[in-house]
Symmetry: C2
């Protein structure tokens, strides 16, 4: 491959087209993948590209337009969580569909641990993506600051301490309001000893749901609070702890559906009837989970796919500079969905 | 942001360091994310970057080194398949760990349909990744050719018609040998009417397993062959068809574990005992599937994570030009794992 030339002497696509004896449009198609161009023409253009040392890539274009046509989606969770929690699939699905509608290429990245941060920062600083969408950001994490420092248009999914400090726009569900509605529903059923299984302490979405619980259960016994990490297994464990501490509990609001599924398993194993003895409400309304629980799970619906789409729409406004100013945050409503478990 | 300058007048990192009054190393760290640099120095370097119009990105660097530090992993399946089949998680896990060991950033792409091809070709042609790993490539698909046309180092996961035609190195399991061993095991148990539930007709891995089945069952009744698409649901349906056509069947070799799980469900619903009435063997040995089936699934183990790691190792040899010539293909062995279902 010939040495790359730079600056004024860098050959243009027009020069390539002229040497190959094809139109600029044909040369462009070949340079961009060659789809739909007849093989002899592809060969001619390729030969011209090599002879002239044309840089047939977006790196050169990025220097001019600063556009790569790609958007990075960063999930601040390890790979096993991403593939096991349907929440992420739904969020990514919404983002993927909306990016496709904008002809942007989604590239998915995730974070096994802090050891990945430097590499991700280099990648984001490298001009390979036009923007970043990041979610599941944890409060004690340097990742949000690294992303913000890359100085490319960014939208966060979910409120985070760092995101607010760095003034990165975010989309979130009304976690606190949804939690409040869930607990009020349990109160309206006549339940009095209502427990809560909380999500990770470093995720604002989880903390907001704890706040919503306390909005209604102002004087709740701390023994009614239990801690999980949003995995099914942690929900099963937290439920066991609660039953050991407060065997008189008659309801539990669980901070996500996966943990609620684990909690239902523990209740079944202990011979506790749902909802007769203990009513259970989850959060998320993940079709694949609420369909498979027994009894069917009453839960707080949030529009996960819609949140993903909204993140893309805000990002596109940042990228295009059209559609008016981007709000600091957009909060989407939640709604209680009543099924058999409460 | 100032206009980008190009060519000879493009400011260097050294110029940025000089103006900021810091070392080149410090300037480099700031430009690459700023990790571990004190805030006042970060600010000084940023100011110098803006004043000089320095292009703080890999796009410029790519023109020189042609390295982005990133590798694209392309799964030629829609997002719902990727998130629902643990096979992909394991493959991606192996790739992710090995890329991390090489300090390469994994960016995951997938393909909802042919409408995505042009965009992916543009992205790959754009110099944003140093190499490509692609798997689940279908025979009737133009994607392998598009990937090969991007002319960046590429390794395929799994044999494919296009990959062989284009001479792209690939890593694959011994699908045919594994299938043969599975069917021979059923024969050794005294089973005579051994059916096969095949995977997608356009995937060589599935076709190779059909060939392995026929290596042993040379005169098999075509009514003993049934077609699935590697999803659990398709396995359940295919099993029902087989039972309707050949109620006397006494064994079934299923081309992957997910379909085997579906087949076991159908057998249970029809009151057919496994393995007493019908013995079942799967393919993959996916921990999350074989653990949850009842009875536990006898299956053909393939080292999915190891295959992913191997793909990265071959790619790194292509990228570095070290480690000797890259073989056209590497076939990894399979092994029958006997559990209760056969």
């Amino acid at each position: 491959m010939p040495e790359q030339t730079t600056g004024a002497s860098r050959p243009t696509l027009e020069a390539v087209a002229a040497r190959a004896g094809v139109s600029r449009a044909t040369a462009s198609r070949v340079v961009n993948g060659g789809v739909g161009v007849r093989a002899p023409l592809v060969d001619k253009v390729r030969q011209a590209v090599e002879e002239l040392g044309y840089v047939p890539n977006h790196a050169a274009r990025t220097l001019v337009t600063r556009r790569s046509g790609a958007v990075a989606v960063i999930i601040a969770e390890p790979e096993f969580r991403i593939f096991s929690d349907p929440f992420f699939e739904q969020q990514v699905r919404g983002i993927s569909r909306e990016l496709t509608a904008h002809d942007s290429q989604l590239v998915l990245l995730w974070v096994e641990g802090p050891g990945d941060h430097d590499r991700i920062a280099r990648y984001l600083g490298g001009g390979h993506v036009d923007g970043t969408l990041a979610f599941s950001l944890h409060n004690d994490d340097e990742l949000p600051a690294l992303i913000a420092r890359a100085r490319i248009p960014t939208v966060f999914g979910g409120r985070s301490e760092a995101g607010q400090r760095l003034a990165v726009p975010y989309v979130d569900s009304d976690n606190r309001g949804g939690a409040r509605e869930a607990v009020r529903h349990l109160v309206s059923l006549g339940r009095r000893h209502i427990a809560h299984i909380a999500g990770p302490r470093d995720l604002m979405a989880a903390l907001d749901r704890v706040d919503g619980y306390h909005d209604v259960m102002m004087d709740a016994d701390p023994a009614l609070m239990s801690q999980g990490d949003f995995t099914e297994e942690s929900g099963a464990r937290a439920m066991a702890e609660l039953l050991d501490r407060r065997p008189d509990l008659d309801a539990v609001f669980v901070a996500n559906d996966l943990m609620a599924s684990g909690a239902l398993r523990t209740l079944r194993e202990r011979g506790v009837r749902v909802p007769e003895d203990v009513a259970v409400v989850g959060f998320d309304d993940l079709a694949s989970v609420v369909r498979s629980t027994d009894p069917a799970l009453t839960t707080v619906h949030q529009d996960i796919e819609g949140t993903g789409r909204l993140m893309v729409k805000l990002l596109m406004r940042l990228l295009d500079g059209t559609g008016g100013p981007v709000p600091a945050s957009v909060i989407t409503p939640t709604a209680l969905v009543r099924r058999a478990s409460a």
